[in-house]
């Protein structure tokens, strides 16, 4: 792949995907809680990306936290009670 050819193709793909990138970013904006609450349409691309990263990290933390709590709850389920048997039959 000559450097000239790759230069041309990259500018072509840039033309096509610029509009699509804007569309994607607007979709992302709708998902993010921070930007939605502030109701400002002036969020720049880098701000949207930063909020996306923060949101993904917070979702990861939530999953981790919930797995922790679930494992603690399940470890205390070994008592003999009708509720415990329900849980056991459902999950274990």
């Amino acid at each position: 792949m000559s450097s000239r050819r790759s230069g041309e193709s990259s500018s072509e793909t840039l033309k096509i995907t610029d509009a699509q990138i804007v569309q994607l970013l607007s979709k992302l904006k709708q998902l993010l809680p921070e930007i939605r609450n502030r109701r400002s349409n002036k969020a720049s691309a880098s701000k949207v990306l930063q909020e996306t990263c923060n949101y993904v990290r917070s979702l990861h933390r939530e999953v981790d936290d919930l797995s922790d709590r679930l494992s603690q709850l399940l470890s205390t389920v070994d008592a003999e009670s009708p509720e415990a048997s329900v849980i056991r039959s459902l999950i274990m």
């Binding site: 450097s3 994607l24 993904v56 999953v63 919930l66 679930l70 494992s71 274990m92």
Partner: protein, 190 residues
């Protein structure tokens, strides 16, 4: 469009619940004496694999999660039961294409490094040019971070990473929702 998103989330939720309960049965009934950390890791792993396989190989991030889990032999029972054997073929193919992508990217990077050196030598003319330079660099930095957060992101170009992140966020929400409901139900029953 909101309605299709809601519909897809509901379908994903159903699939995820089915597969996760299956996975929990496999994990939590195998060894009775597990310490808290082991159990927590099994729960989290089964949730991730269930979420990924509920996508039915329609997205890159889900395939990345499954192929990463398959690398550990201890997880094979879980993966095979949840995702079926079809993923193995896809995994091998993905590994080959990923490897090719990595080596071709390395070649590109070497040539880019030279071009970047030439670009840096050019001075930025007006203020607006400088601002767009900075903005582009910020976007690039943030996209790099996002690539590390989305599973399989290191192998994607910047456009696909954003697309995958959209779907990944929606699916993570479903996962958190279901897990919260299960934790609440278990708390009440306890």
């Amino acid at each position: 469009m909101q309605e299709t998103i809601m519909h897809n989330s509901r379908e994903l939720k159903k699939e995820f619940i089915k597969k996760w309960v299956q996975g929990l049965h496999i994990c939590c009934s195998s060894k009775k004496q597990m310490n808290l950390l082991e159990r927590k890791n099994k729960i989290k792993l089964s949730a991730d694999i269930a979420l990924a396989s509920a996508k039915n190989s329609t997205t890159c991030w889900s395939k990345a999660i499954i192929s990463k889990a398959e690398k550990d032999e201890q997880n094979m029972i879980l993966v095979n039961n949840l995702s079926g054997s079809g993923s193995k073929f896809m995994c091998a193919h993905q590994k080959v294409s990923c490897h090719k992508r990595i080596t071709s990217k390395k070649i590109l990077k070497k040539s880019y490094g030279f071009r970047k050196k030439m670009k840096k030598m050019e001075p930025c003319d007006h203020g607006s040019n400088l601002a767009t330079c900075i903005a582009k660099r910020l976007v690039k930095k943030r996209t790099q971070v996002l690539k590390r957060l989305v599973p399989g992101g290191e192998f994607m170009d910047e456009f696909s990473v954003i697309k995958e992140a959209l779907d990944y966020i929606l699916s993570l929400r479903v996962q958190v929702d279901v897990m919260k409901n299960l934790v609440n139900a278990t708390t009440i029953l306890n």
